[in-house]
Amino acid sequence: MNEVHHPQSEAEACDLIRQAAEAGTALSLIGGNTRAGLGNRVAADAVLCSTGLAGIVDYEPGEMVMTARAGTPLGAIEAALSANNQMLAFEPVDHRGIMGTQGEPTIGGVFLSNASGPRRLSAGAARDSLLGIRFVNGRGAAIRAGGRVMKNVTGLDLVKLLAGSHGTLGFVTEVTFRVLPRPESEATIVLRGLDDATATKAMAAAMAQPADVSAAAHVPQAVARTLPEASGQAGAVTALRLEGLSASVTVRAASLAARLSDFAPVDTLDAAASAGLWRAIRDVTPLQAHQERPLWRVSVAPATGHRLIADLRHHAEIDALCDWQGGLVWLEMGGAPQADLLRRTVAALGGGHATLMRASEDARAGLSAFEPQPAPIAALSARIKAKLDPAGIFSPGRMAPVLRSGVGTTGRTG
């Protein structure tokens, strides 16, 4: 069992990292570790965990900004926001269901994996909400990047670089992020029984309307029966969510329903049913039952998602669910992960990226959990990594491409 460090202060983290760099000790950086088993296997000698750095540092509801230590449980953040009728704009997924993991996700882990849910389509990703960070680089120096104001172009945006870096560029100790007022009301327009291609057309038509749709998803018939009762049961569900002032939601729902009635009979879900449906879509509950089956998260152009599913069906047994107007495809494979087939198909359809979210140990060995990068970008990424973590001690291998043998090709470069 590797040694686990829980620094209680940023200064302590700096010391630990400086010593590790001198000794060449590789560290696996974690928060709540609820995503353990994701990414490539990390070849680390010890674990550096953020949960000792917990607590909300500053919260100005009037300015819609919060600063929290990286190890603060997501639940504590959401409770504080909720008490002020505010929320995280990007709607983070509770992925414990699909991955069969337990524990408490941390706010740092959410930003370090740039984890965003259905509202990403209209309100941006986690990285778009992140205004500033403090982190410790691989030399053990504490660095501040960004700030606490929404508009800031002072210097290079290291905040974006660190967001989504999965613990390979720096140990983040504190995050400052923008929050949004919770909408007064919500409603969801549901179209039933559409095939994937028609659903894509319907979602594009909805997004072309001045209706301010905040989320758009399609759950095909094969998996729709696991949705909450009010929304599921009778075939495929194509859902379009509207949020805002009650008066406005009602008006927009009526006009959107009228616009879309050519596609299929239209239902409108009230606020409670709408919230239940979107929680299920956010957490991908329709694909939770078969924990042994590999699950991919694929981002492609919205109009491409359904074609990806159709093309893959010729070669593999799959179940799928599309969020983000069709562009975010959660793909469950019946057998092997089929990484090469999937990535080839994505590329042929115009590009995107596929991340393996769930698979057995055996199936994961020898394939890259993250989309392999073209050579010049991989080389540039390795140069950047070397500038932040010169000794290569942060989560080596996590994001690196993997050879068939299961060994990181670039050693300690990422």
Binding site: E63, R120, T154, G155, L156, L180, A208, I377, I384, L388
Partner: protein, 479 residues
């Protein structure tokens, strides 16, 4: 103005090879693609930060990504600095050349390559103007959200360089939030594609890093941007207050109440008078401060939002509330606001600050700004994006009076210090360029700056891209 901001000393070896460099570059570019006669170089000697100007060695005007790559590869091989340039509307000197540099102008790469309504994206060349994207997709009911006041002229490449914002960013975000992909040419000529029509990056968020990097990491030749469906309707409303303090407090309360209009623009008395005299927008002249609040959506939504905002404004003693009654009137209200810099330029020379502060500190910073300027005997007009705390004090001065010009620079620096002390930053949307370069240590520690510079080295090991900008000239680490 006093030439107090230094550039890197020109590389003697480059200057001595000028003729050969020009001859070589000419072979890499199409007919007429290389400008080198002194007379023809004049239009490139500065940008909108006109206090500083110097001629470049030459100007390359490529038409394709391959030509950009060839020019960069050549310059990299011979150690020649390169300054990327869009329309040259930078307010911080970001596009000002230096005598040993080749300006790489993107003006001939101005095609809209593809409009994809199903995926709500447009793919454009970097030299396309900001406004032309919205004009192209407008008839289909779409628009490109970031709308800098310079949108008629500025290019998408420059917008990416500066991560530009605009009046409507409160709701829609700035460039980085609306950019899905770029084609980027690195200094060694390598062409890479980041992102595309899909969301979010595979691997590190290099797109996020490049956006706002002020032409220091690579040259953008193409961009894929998000286009959005236009709202059903939009309505700007004028709110007049007795003083700036009340207007500032009203802004903070509107946001605190959870109301996010598309735009909240602020003008103080000086700015109202200047803009009204120029644009005849119908601004009330008896008030001390004015807010332009724009709401959008369906009639019901606009009504509901406006009612809530008016109630808050009343609590702050609003003197006049005027809704635009027609599209013409609405356009006029915006015309006055968007002409603010131009109108100010007609009555005096000015420098425009761009610090951002937390909303709760708006009134305090406005007051300190006023004190700093009057203390130095200078006039100041404030016109800015209040909803996100992005302040634009315009410090008026006479450029023919070196003493006054120096005072204006001093005032600007003092104001930015106040912004940083208030928990804000030096620049919200105009960038650092040369203007704020030597102030970077107000905001960042040496370790913070060293880390940013180290990352910069990963892109451009010999520090050839726009090398005099952003980072203080002293204390740059070796590669």
């Amino acid at each position: 103005m006093s030439q107090t901001i230094a550039f890197l000393p020109p590389r003697a070896d480059v200057l001595s090879q000028r003729a050969r460099i020009i001859a070589d570059l000419a072979t890499l570019l199409p007919e007429g693609g290389l400008v080198h006669e002194a007379r023809e170089l004049v239009p490139f000697e500065t940008d909108a930060y006109v206090a500083y100007r110097q001629l470049p060695l030459a100007v390359a005007l490529p038409r394709t990504t391959q030509e950009v790559s060839a020019v960069l590869e050549y310059c990299n091989r011979h150690g020649i600095p390169v300054v990327p340039r869009g329309a040259g509307t930078s307010l911080c000197g970001g596009a000002i050349p230096q005598p040993d540099a080749v300006v790489l102008g993107l003006s001939r790469m101005s095609a809209i390559l593809e409009v994809d309504l199903e995926n709500r994206v447009a793919r454009v060349q970097a030299g396309v103007t900001n406004l032309s994207i919205s004009e192209t997709v407008g008839p289909e009911g779409f628009f490109y959200a970031p709308d800098p006041s310079s949108q008629l002229a500025c290019t998408i490449g420059g917008n990416i360089g500066m991560n530009s914002g605009g009046a409507h960013c409160l709701k829609y975000g700035v460039t980085t939030n609306n950019l899905l992909g770029v084609t980027l040419v690195l200094m060694d000529g390598t062409v890479i594609t980041l992102g595309g029509s899909h969301l979010d990056a595979a691997g590190y968020d290099l797109l996020g890093l490049v956006c706002g990097s002020e032409g220091q990491l690579g040259v953008v030749t193409e961009a894929t941007v998000r286009i959005l469906a236009k709202a059903e309707g939009a309505r700007p409303v004028l709110f007049g207050f007795a003083t700036s303090r009340e207007a500032g407090a009203c802004v903070a309360d509107v946001i605190a109440a959870g109301i996010i209009p598309v735009a909240i623009e602020f003008m103080d008395k000086q700015a109202i008078e200047i803009c009204e005299a120029f644009a005849k927008a119908g601004y009330p002249l008896h008030v001390g401060a004015l807010l332009i609040v724009e709401v959008e959506g369906s009639e019901a939504e606009m009504e509901a939002m406006l009612a809530a905002i008016v109630a808050i404004a009343r609590r702050h003693g609003v003197m006049t509330v005027r809704e635009s009654q027609s599209a013409t009137e609405a356009a006029l209200i915006w015309k006055g606001r968007k002409a603010a810099f131009g109108a100010t330029g007609r009555i005096a020379d000015y420098i425009c600050m761009d610090g951002t502060v937390p909303l709760g500190k708006l009134s305090h910073v406005l007051q300190r700004t006023e004190e700093i300027c009057t203390g130095l005997g200078l006039r100041v007009a404030n016109v800015f994006h209040a909803g996100d705390g992005n302040m634009h004090p315009l410090i008026l001065f006479n450029a023919n009076d070196p003493a006054e010009a120096a005072k204006a620079e001093t005032a600007g620096n003092e104001i930015l210090k106040v912004c940083v002390e208030a928990g804000g930053c030096l620049t919200g949307e105009h960038g650092v360029g040369i203007e704020k370069r030597d102030l970077m240590r107000f905001q960042f520690s040496d370790a913070d700056l060293a880390q940013q510079m180290a990352v910069r080295y990963a892109f451009d090991a010999d520090w050839l891209l726009n090398p005099s900008k952003v980072f203080p000239l002293d204390g740059r680490p070796a590669a």
